[in-house]
Amino acid sequence: MATSNGQNDAFKIIDLQIMVESKWLQSDGGYFRPFTRKNKCGVGRVTMTNAAKSWIHGDESAKQILARVARKRPFLLRPPLHRVPLRVGNVVEIVGPSPSAKTHVLMQAAISCILPKDWKGIHYGGLECLVMYFDLDCRFDVERFTELLKHCIMDCNGLSNGNPKKHGILSESFHDFEDLFLSCMRRFSYVRCYNSLEFLSTLKTFRCHLQKENEKHGVGASFLMIDSISAFYWTDRATAPFPLGSTVRKSFSLSNVLETVVQEIQRLFKVQPMLLFATKATISGDGSVTSELKRNRGLSKDVSELKVMRGFQKDAYREYMPSIWQSFVTHRLHFQVSDEDLDGSSCENKSIFQFEWLLPSLNVFEKFEVADAGIFMLT
């Protein structure tokens, strides 16, 4: 990368998209122009003559800047996705053992996408866009989804009664919101795939479907969800590639399938950038905090000892997907089951999970609880 002394402050770590579209001005009229070439980004220096000319022409009007920034503003998502700004084109991977509320997080994100920004004077803060949900685990519970949506609508209207976490009386005052509910549900698109072939078939014909949906609703799709990308991991791994005759043929192996998936999604993002959420199940250990500690320390049965050790947890996450998928992922969130009630004192039904962002690595463990009305952070 070209640089000169004293200009190092120009190389701050900034989001690549903004770098691409902006230019860096210098006092002598020359400027650093960022370029991207095959995922490598650099900054090269442009000389004075054409610098002066292009500087005078200007890059974009104020209106264009506003439009761009407004479009590219990171999404305001509900916890636990609120810590890191996410934009279209990002690929967020949510990893965790089963069960750890990964599908719930997806459902909440989907709800915040299909809700409108404002409706009949009430602010819902949604994106009013389509959500495309690929259910590879085949475990989506539509009743739970509707329950969450209804709770969200009621909350925004301030109609939740008393404790927002408990199951409120939804049916009575809900008739007014039937239209809103129906229009939201129509923006949610769902498909089930029982094996990799069906998944690939769906992806290949996805663009047609997307176009149809865009025309029908007049809005674009913002969120793409895959639950879960590791569903066919073992079945595809077991299909041993066997070259029959010509070596030109691609064998149906795990890495080839994922390569095609990544390729299709990347193609899609060029035409219609979306934010991709993918869940992934861990395949070793039971994912709970204490079991990891036990494994690291042998059979330590002393409860107080375990509690002390919680502060020194090691990162228990192990990657197993092929590198083509790993390099496609831009953000990673790791969930774990939290064994709060180790001493058996708590008899309540708690579903408490803890999470940390692995990519970008924030090194902070936070807890959240899944209640009837949704996900709530525990501080």
């Binding site: 089963s98 475990r139 129509r186 498909v191 014909t205 073992w234 791994r237 077991a238 199940a281």
Partner: protein, 353 residues
């Protein structure tokens, strides 16, 4: 997925002509799967360089049209909800505690798993559920038995419990009810696949409005067919296990059944020691029971079929029995809309000799 030259058999689309097949073969595409793994746009670009590019592109479109029929259709949220409300009902199991815990019963279209140590009452609950479904709903139950533990005597007893007056009535009614429970023994994973495959085909061909729709599929127990193939470094065993899981979920969803699967778990603490030196001391029994439960919230149960199976079922329930009695306790390990840890105690009805 057939080879490209076999597409005409599918009767969906006209067969792509031989030029197209030659073009594809030149780029290493001999079957529809190969087509799926290739970049369509790159192929179109290559086709445009050829002389007969229009026909080639038409061929590509034909294959894409065929591919479009191969996957499940897209549904929107409303259609999903409608399907769930119309077709997926709750099946009460006949065990009041369990029905209370599950807010109604087993859900059709979902896979419910019952995990527990040996001899804690899992088979009894299955038999009770089977009896209840055939008796109350006049529907069929398919019971796949891997450990010869299907007991028709117990089924007759449970039906008698559900309707005490039945014993006085002629046997004909009992016969009709019990004729709707079909039991088949499967002893290895391939037999299981075969049976499920047949079931799927038969359910597809079955008339929609038949009286005795199959509503419940019980597999007791799936661990005995999967344990022989699991383990080692081969992915084959695990892939068969996952494929079986997907097949069950598919059958449940497409034909609106509820699937109940039994899994024998390995608990760290064992309850077998009832007879230490012949002493049937109550204190000993009490200790053994508590040992099983303390610190034994779900973290201490070894997953019976590994971590990969944990994500397969919709609902997982843990069953445990108080030593030497017929008191059982069920708790929720995983549920799509309920917190973990909910539990309930109940009694399994027992015959008096």
């Amino acid at each position: 997925m057939p080879a490209l030259n076999g597409l005409e058999q599918e009767e969906v689309t006209a067969a792509p002509d031989s030029n197209f097949q030659r073009f594809c073969a030149a780029h290493g595409i001999l079957s529809v799967e190969d087509f799926l793994l290739h970049d369509v746009y790159a192929l179109v670009a290559l086709a445009e360089r050829e002389v007969n590019s229009e026909e080639l592109k038409q061929g590509i479109n034909q294959v894409l049209a065929f591919i479009d029929t191969q996957h499940k259709p897209w549904l929107n949220g409303l259609e999903l909800l409608e399907d769930a409300r119309q077709n997926k009902h709750l099946l009460p199991t006949g065990c009041q505690g369990l029905d209370l815990l599950l807010k109604g019963g087993l859900l059709e279209g979902q896979l419910t798993e019952l995990v527990g140590a040996s001899s804690c009452g899992k088979t009894q609950i299955c038999l009770l559920a089977a009896s209840n479904v055939t008796y109350k709903h006049m529907s069929s139950v398919v019971y796949l038995d891997t450990c010869n533990s299907f007991s028709p005597k117990r089924v007759a007893y449970f039906i008698g419990v559900l309707n005490p007056t039945l014993k006085q009535v002629r046997c004909g009614i009992l016969e009709r009810i019990m004729a709707n429970i079909l039991c088949k023994s499967v002893f290895n994973i391939f037999e299981l696949f075969d049976t499920l495959d047949q079931l799927q085909t038969k359910l597809r061909d079955q008339a929609r409005s038949s009286d005795h729709k199959v509503r419940l599929l019980v597999i007791d127990s799936i661990s005995s067919v999967i344990a022989p193939i699991l383990g080692g470094n081969m992915a084959y065993g695990r892939s068969l296990m996952i494929s079986a899981g997907f097949l069950l979920k598919r059958i449940a969803y497409e034909h609106n059944l509820s699937v109940l699967v039994i899994l024998v778990s390995s608990a760290y603490k064992e309850l077998i020691n009832k007879c230490i030196g012949g002493c049937l001391d109550e204190n000993v029994a009490a200790c053994v029971v508590t040992n099983h439960m303390v610190g034994g919230n779900v973290g201490s149960l070894k997953p019976a079929l590994g971590e990969s199976w944990k994500g397969v079922a919709h609902t997982r329930l843990l069953l445990s029995r108080v030593n030497r009695t017929n008191k059982c306790s069920i708790s929720v390990l995983k549920h799509p809309s309920m917190a973990r840890g909910n539990s309930v105690d109940f009694l399994i009805p027992e015959e008096n000799f």
